[in-house]
């Protein structure tokens, strides 16, 4: 019973907040509704027993990606009227994308209904582990059967990261940056002098 209540609660909230993402007038509100949608999707994943994926969804999407979204949206000075101006012009494109997504959804459900998806090899060598925790079974598959895919995904992300840094990095020569090692290695006797000037005479440095 509790399971069913939780499912309908999470599902309703996902759909409602997803609808509010596109209906909210203020883009900051949209991002916050999106975060609520992510959060409830994580709740749904806990319900189907994928607690590892649920936690990763919260850590990665809610904790990192959405914060950056929120940053950008808060910093930008967005003209709401201008944002909505292209609605009619972009409507056919939006409709097309929506149709593609719908077709994918129908296809996916159809494939799922057709039978269990074989994750293991034909001889069952790398079949998902039964009776182990989420993390162990994902790890066992990821580091055996899907090792090359996993590592190439890692390399693609690394290249993307290096690319982003190279594109946005600019060296500013006019700033005076702190050199901690130099400061720490400074000693009093090389930085100060002790002089006893005669009265009426200044100090020559």
């Amino acid at each position: 019973m509790i399971h069913a209540i939780a499912f309908y609660l999470f599902a309703t909230l996902v759909i409602a907040s997803a609808a509010l993402v596109i209906l909210a007038r203020n883009p900051v509100h949209s991002v916050l509704w999106l975060i609520l949608a992510f959060f409830n999707a994580a709740g749904l994943m806990v319900l189907v027993g994928a607690e590892f994926i649920a936690m990763l969804l919260v850590i990665v999407y809610v904790g990192a990606v959405a914060v950056l979204f929120l940053f950008v949206v808060m910093m930008l000075d967005i003209d709401f009227a201008e944002l909505r101006a292209g609605f009619v012009r972009n409507f056919p494109l939006g409709l097309l994308i929506a149709l593609v997504l719908l077709a994918e959804l129908v296809l996916g459900i159809g494939a799922y209904k057709a039978g269990a998806i074989a994750l293991g090899t034909a001889d069952g060598a790398a079949a998902p582990l039964i009776g182990h925790s989420n993390i162990e079974s994902i790890g066992a598959l990821l580091y055996s059967r899907y090792l090359f895919l996993f590592e190439s995904a890692g390399i693609i992300l690394l290249v993307a990261m290096v690319g982003a840094i190279v594109l946005t990095h600019r060296e500013r020569r006019d700033t005076r940056t702190q050199n901690v090692a130099k400061q720490v290695s400074r000693r009093p006797d090389e930085a100060t002098v002790n002089v006893k000037p005669e009265i009426g005479k200044g100090v020559q440095l």
Binding site: M1, I2, F71, M74
Partner: protein, 348 residues
């Protein structure tokens, strides 16, 4: 506890429900009381180090000072700035406070005394602590005021930066323990060094990680010397400048609950949680929760001590420390720890 409620004739679902509610109250209410007392302790320690008396008027030795403050704040008028985004302005402190309580669900108070004994406990802690940034960012934006906004920007950059190295530090612990469950992590620390000492901190490969974790914890909870978010000489009072009354109190309580959580994580992950420091039978007669509380209070004293003695960091120094020192060091130790375990535990 579920079994007890079942024994007095409830169905399993109701028994579970009532037991969970009782568990939540059993954690949250003492925690709130603890937060009130810890605020008093913080002020007393700070005062002692500054050769002042600290709160000493309300109740014996000023013990009731926090409750008097709470009552005062409760009776104040809630002011919502007219230019603010009202809904979000009210939600923000609630988010901060709730998130500060959420993570306590997976902290083991004694062997098996844990509200949610889930096998992704540590990931849950990470997920919840990554939510903490929203209370601050939303407050800064919804206040529609310059200083809170600057503060929110600082706070979120700070939290995200230090979360990265905290993640790597936790990975080291998880690699050594071989589990994400906090209770199992504590049990794995029993007799960790030559069967004598309980705690990963006595391990030479994990000791540097503990030092990093302690400092990152201070940065993550925006405690001094990393309290740039409320640097009063620059930002008035930071993201909570526009808040008054109970909303302000919620930030206050949430902040200290987060500090206590960081102390508890220090104790659980590196100092053997509810285990006594030495694996010696007579010490186990003292209940585990006493050990855990003693450790939490000790770390809180360290936090106060640092707050009273260390000057505030500059913002660029904070970022340098996080990204250029802590991140490479924790990454290096992930490699070292996993390499060591690969050689010893899972012979290549």
């Amino acid at each position: 506890m579920t079994a007890f409620f079942q024994s007095i004739g409830m169905s399993y679902e109701w028994a579970w429900f009532v037991a969970t509610i009782c568990g939540i109250l059993l954690i949250a209410l003492p925690l709130m009381l603890g937060v009130a007392m810890i605020i008093y302790a913080d002020r007393k320690i700070w005062a002692a180090m500054a050769l002042r008396r600290g709160p000493n008027v309300v109740g014996p030795w000023g013990l009731l000072q926090s409750f008097a403050d709470g009552l005062k704040v409760f009776l104040q008028e809630t002011i919502i700035p007219s230019a603010s985004n009202k809904g979000l302005f009210i939600i923000a402190p609630i988010v901060t406070f709730t998130v500060a309580l959420l993570a306590w669900a997976v902290i083991p108070f004694n062997s098996g005394a844990i509200l949610a004994d889930i096998n992704v406990g540590l990931l849950y802690v990470l997920a919840v602590s990554s939510l903490g940034v929203y209370g601050v960012v939303i407050a800064g934006w919804a206040s529609n005021s310059k200083y809170p906004f600057f503060s929110a920007m600082r706070a979120s950059a700070q939290m995200i930066s230090y979360e990265v190295s905290i993640g790597f530090i936790l990975i080291c612990v998880v690699l050594w323990a071989g589990t994400f469950n906090l209770d199992d992590i504590v049990q794995n620390q029993r007799g960790h060094v030559f069967g004598l000492l309980n705690g990963y901190v006595f391990n030479p490969l994990l000791f540097p990680m503990w030092v990093l974790f302690l400092i990152s914890g201070m940065a993550e909870t925006a405690r001094a010397p990393f309290d740039l978010t409320e640097a009063e000489s620059e930002l008035v009072a930071g993201y909570q400048t526009e808040y008054s009354s109970m909303a302000f109190a919620l930030y206050w309580l949430g902040e200290y609950a987060n500090v206590l959580l960081m102390c508890a994580l220090n104790a659980v992950l590196f100092w053997g949680g509810y285990l006594p420091p030495i694996d010696w039978a007579p010490l186990y007669y003292i209940p585990g929760i006493v050990w855990l509380l003693a450790k939490i209070l000790f770390f809180f004293f360290v936090f106060s001590w640092v707050k009273a003695t260390v000057p505030r960091f500059r913002y660029d120094q904070l970022m340098r420390l996080g990204w250029k020192i802590f991140l490479p060091m924790s990454l290096l130790f992930v490699v070292l720890v996993s390499g060591y375990l690969m050689l010893t535990r899972y012979a290549v």
